[in-house]
Subunit: 355 residues, 2 copies
Amino acid sequence: MEKQKIYNFSAGPAVLAVDVLKQAAEATVNYNGHGMSILEMSHRSVPIVDMVTETRQLIRQLLNVPENYKILFLQGGASLQFSMIPMNILKDDETADYTDTGAWSAKAIKEAHRYGNVNVVCSSKEAVYNHIPKQFEQSKNQLYLHLTSNNTIYGTQWHEFPDTKGFLVADMSSDIFSRPIDVSPFGVIYAGAQKNMGPAGVTMVIVREDLIGRSERNLPSMLDFAMHADKDSMFNTPPIFAIYVVNRTLHWLNELGGVDAMYEQNKSKAKLLYEEIERNTLFTSPIAEEDRSLMNVPFVFADGGDEAHFLNYCAERGMVTLKGHRSVGGFRASIYNAMPKEGVEALVNAMQQYL
Amino acid sequence: MEKQKIYNFSAGPAVLAVDVLKQAAEATVNYNGHGMSILEMSHRSVPIVDMVTETRQLIRQLLNVPENYKILFLQGGASLQFSMIPMNILKDDETADYTDTGAWSAKAIKEAHRYGNVNVVCSSKEAVYNHIPKQFEQSKNQLYLHLTSNNTIYGTQWHEFPDTKGFLVADMSSDIFSRPIDVSPFGVIYAGAQKNMGPAGVTMVIVREDLIGRSERNLPSMLDFAMHADKDSMFNTPPIFAIYVVNRTLHWLNELGGVDAMYEQNKSKAKLLYEEIERNTLFTSPIAEEDRSLMNVPFVFADGGDEAHFLNYCAERGMVTLKGHRSVGGFRASIYNAMPKEGVEALVNAMQQYL
């Protein structure tokens, strides 16, 4: 298969565990000895229903999801949730607070503006989103406070979640399963799979049961949490292959010791890289130290330099997709759960040996 | 891989070509020698953008899609299109005609009722949808006429499309690419991939450009045809793996001679099976002869019998998922493009040798 080991630092779709990919390839030809590809099997067949049920159970167990939350598998990514969440839970005369900590937060705000009163309570936009705002006033009549737990583009992360009078709603697309979380302050947690869970094409939504149907809007069935909850995410044909890759990834995570063990690994990988960025006079981090993400690590040349040259230098050593997002420039190493420590070490070595 | 060749007669997700599955498995480990899985690759990377562009071109070529139509890859299946289409093109004071020829038509009607005036112009429901209505009056001020080109559950198919004053809108999920069609009378053609194109998780929408943005509603970005058309289906992360399997399936179809050649094969496979149903006194078809589907063939015992016994008998011979839908009973053989003629022959043999 490979001449050289490739380390893929893509921000998403992103690196997945090698064993997971092998299992996915096997299932694509013959699913668990059924003589058919998983792509060909009915979503109503027993083996597939069992697999989807098990995937839900794994999520519940790995994240300690309380019994009064439903776990849904939907389509359309976090981008569709930006609309579906306020559509389903926020009434026209109610207020939701939104924090603006990056491009994805801003998109969530833009879509939410069609429902209820959306109050943007803080923004780090003026500082090119280089930090997470700490001091801000929330609405007195707030239903919920929305946040993006990790900002993929800018490399910031909420290491502590703010207190609220209402409940929290979070887009965790880029750090779900990377650290332990207490689900109970959240009304809704949602995440596109394509960073820490699996391939693009499935979105996990964890929603507190009392919020389902809350807005009382007459919604299209496909946009109605109640319909999907009632049908165990089988209202229509779900993206079975994507769910299966999530299933395999969660088994892999479980065998590694779950999110607690993964969190320790992630801290240790991020420490390696941030320490090198601090030590190495060639590079610097544009991000406030206390808010730096364990998942996405942007860095730039301290005194300018030929970015294409460094990217080529890394590519020749098998490290790819390190180009920073166009709005930040420089470089970005996404070091999700499935990025092995060796990948980060290879990058640190390259930074040390460069020039 | 296999002890016995399995013929999968599932109505969807359904049989795919063996070569397509092998290529999909390969790409799941290492996509075209890039050293990464296709599941790990950015949707903005050159190889992936090229693949998606090529898939669009293949669709345009295979179906002779005129230049004034956009081809979109969306999520949410036909079920989301039931809402998205009227939401995007039907104004509140306008009328759309809907034909009711089966469970999926009825679902399309239910969702469309939230927009404009929906006029159900015909229904074969009273006859358990065993035929396609021929005589019906359309609205004078009709914007479009909606139909389900093939009714997966009941096994009927529109072999000729009705004339309209407006334009046609069709759910072709279960017979797309199975026969040549003239796209020009259609304003929108849509199809979930999981029957004749690929796995569940991607929906193809072919929409006439002048209809994009037509309703002037302020829609969520993810539900707005204009947004997806403007961004070449990359407004957010598309379901790349599913699109890739579609790409491979269309290459396979192209190499077999395209939809004209496939149509001949499909007619010949269906003829084999329908002739056996007519000849064999054990079995009968509940469907009006002139409306019988080339894709889904329901049949029942002529004078009763032990259905489970026949299903087991077939399963022992490697023929699976032949159980009829609960609303029809009996048996259903879905013989989509990727079902080889040998599969139909094996079924005919089983029917001949049974008892």
